[in-house]
């Protein structure tokens, strides 16, 4: 079974929140030197809510789709609701079975988001 299902391809071809956030309150950059993937994640928090979130970067279809899905999921939600989001929840958003090597790709955006939440 292909992991490149409809959800992944949709978010790869039409990534949500793939933009610059000029007046972001927080920014973070993470990369995976092993495959050259990198992501810049920026967030605006207002009234304890994720008012806006955006990402840019380069990566494989899995990491791009994961960033798109994750940002879509957290946007508008309460910080307390999303700040402890775990890896299983992120993988559930992708809704595919990944090999251990590809899980790293899928979790790069999550890693960035966690940095935003803890810094």
């Amino acid at each position: 079974m292909s992991i490149y299902g409809d959800i992944i391809l949709d978010h790869y071809h039409y990534p949500r929140n793939f933009k610059k956030l000029n007046k972001s309150s927080k920014k973070v950059h993470v990369d995976n030197p092993l495959c050259g993937d990198s992501i810049d994640l920026a967030i605006n928090v207002k009234d304890d809510h994720v008012q806006d979130i955006a990402f840019q970067g380069q990566g494989c279809a899995i990491s791009l789709a994961s960033a798109s899905l994750l940002t879509e999921y957290v946007k508008g939600k309460k910080i307390s609701e999303v700040k402890n989001i775990d890896t299983d929840s992120v993988l559930k958003l992708l809704n595919i079975e990944l090999s251990p090597n590809r899980i790293k790709c899928a979790l790069l955006p999550w890693e960035a988001f966690m940095k935003l939440m803890t810094n």
Partner: protein, 424 residues
């Protein structure tokens, strides 16, 4: 010379010797630069040691110990002859190329490098022939110099004047250069470097220079002759040449090995141990502390036999044909989307093709190819400084060996078409 030498290599028949194809008949294995598949005689030889005469070497008086010692030491002779070493004592068994290079770096390297000296490598080195020398240079306060590449993905110290090879190491290798460590064949570009000529010129500039050859991608695919090359050290791995993993060879000049300090201390490498002092064993045992991968060494002999039976002339010809076939197919099928990284002349290329396709990520390409059981490598192939030069973080690499044929290339092309279609 056996008769088979005169027959063109037949991959379909060769495949039958590789049990992995019994289990996975659909497998299209294009990752032999990472590790090769193993033929039945090699696997059976491993098993033979574990079932027929398991015993440690150089110790026991009993029959099985004598048998295992004899098989182990026979392999040393076979390896020496295989790469034309002057004597079997010049053959040190290691865990692989990486350990061989680290051995050289941390013994003769450390002992001969001082502040202000130079260590020279090239930009196309695998990390295993880059980082040990870089760290050594940093430790010693020496200059770490890197030979850059030209637009043909070859070493910048070479050029051609009416097809005659000109080497010009001026400015790169100097009298202060103590170590020159180069790969014979690039694991990413496939570039075959004219090391014989480069080493000869380096020795003219500084006769005391120590030359180290990473032959991991060369020994499995072409005839390598250490005396003809004129190098001081040459390292390669068993697992890339049909042999077991965890076994490799460092071949060094006897006079150098003899005066070098040991690499690791322990059993087998000593002559006498007293509280006051320890004296070390003769070559090659001085460099083989502890119980080695006995079965692996013994089985390496079978992989050499297997390769020699096919003949390196045939292997090289076969890989050239496949490489050309793939390069042509890629440029024909994906005219504006494909970029291959490697020399243009087939004579300068090993059986390795690294490429980028459109803006597709190599991980996605490799993943979709895997859906059709096509195994390629995606990433930086342990050559990050090289990928900086290429200007891409990662490439997709297909590499060939004796069991590959044009059907494999056709399937790869079909898989790439599918990839482009899915991720368009």
């Amino acid at each position: 010379m056996t008769i088979i030498n005169h027959i063109m290599l037949n991959p379909k028949r060769i495949k039958k010797d590789f049990p992995i194809f019994d289990k996975h008949p659909e497998l299209v294995y294009l990752d032999s630069s990472a590790t090769s598949l193993k033929p039945r005689p090699v696997i059976e030889k491993l098993l033979e040691y574990y079932t027929d005469y398991t015993a440690n070497i150089h110790r026991g008086i009993y029959k099985n110990a004598e048998k295992s010692t004899q098989e182990y030491e026979d392999t040393r002779k076979v390896v020496a002859k295989f790469i034309n070493a002057k004597r079997p004592e010049e053959i040190i068994f290691t865990r692989g190329t990486t350990e061989g290079i680290n051995l050289a770096a941390s013994t003769i390297g450390l002992d001969s490098i001082q502040k202000g000296d130079e260590v020279v490598v090239s930009r196309m080195e695998h990390h295993s022939n880059f980082v040990p020398w870089q760290q050594l240079a940093f430790q010693a306060g020496a200059d770490f110099k890197v030979i850059e590449l030209n637009e043909s993905y070859e070493l910048r110290v070479m050029s051609y004047e009416s097809e005659k090879l000109i080497i010009n190491l001026g400015g790169v290798v100097t009298k202060r250069t103590k170590i020159l460590a180069l790969t014979m064949v690039s694991n990413t570009l496939g570039t075959i470097n004219p090391l014989k000529e480069i080493i000869a010129q380096a020795k003219k500039i500084n006769p005391a220079i120590i030359t180290v050859v990473d032959a991991a991608q060369a020994v499995p695919h072409m005839k390598v002759d250490v005396q003809d090359l004129g190098c001081d050290f040459l390292a390669f791995s068993g697992h890339k040449m049909l042999g077991p993993t965890g076994i490799g060879v460092l071949c060094g000049k006897y006079e150098l090995l003899n005066k070098m300090s040991p690499y690791q201390y322990g059993g087998d490498m000593i002559r006498q141990v007293k509280i006051e002092e320890t004296t070390f064993n003769d070559l090659p045992h001085k460099f083989e502390a502890g119980t080695p991968h006995i079965a692996g060494v013994i089985a390496l002999k079978e992989s050499i036999k297997y390769l020699e039976k096919i003949g390196f002339k045939n292997i090289r010809e076969h890989e050239k044909n496949l490489t050309m076939y793939l390069a042509k197919a890629l440029s024909y099928e994906f005219p504006n989307l494909i970029k291959c990284y490697g020399p243009r002349q087939i004579g300068h290329m090993g059986g390795i093709v690294s490429f980028t396709l459109k803006n597709l990520h190599p991980h996605d390409i490799a993943q979709i190819l895997d859906e059709d059981n096509i195994a390629v490598r995606a990433g930086h192939h342990c050559t990050m400084p090289l990928h900086d030069f290429l200007g891409v973080p990662a490439t997709t690499r297909a590499s060939f060996y004796i069991y590959n044929d044009e059907d494999d290339v056709d399937k790869l092309i079909a898989g790439l078409k599918k990839t482009v279609k899915i991720l368009k």
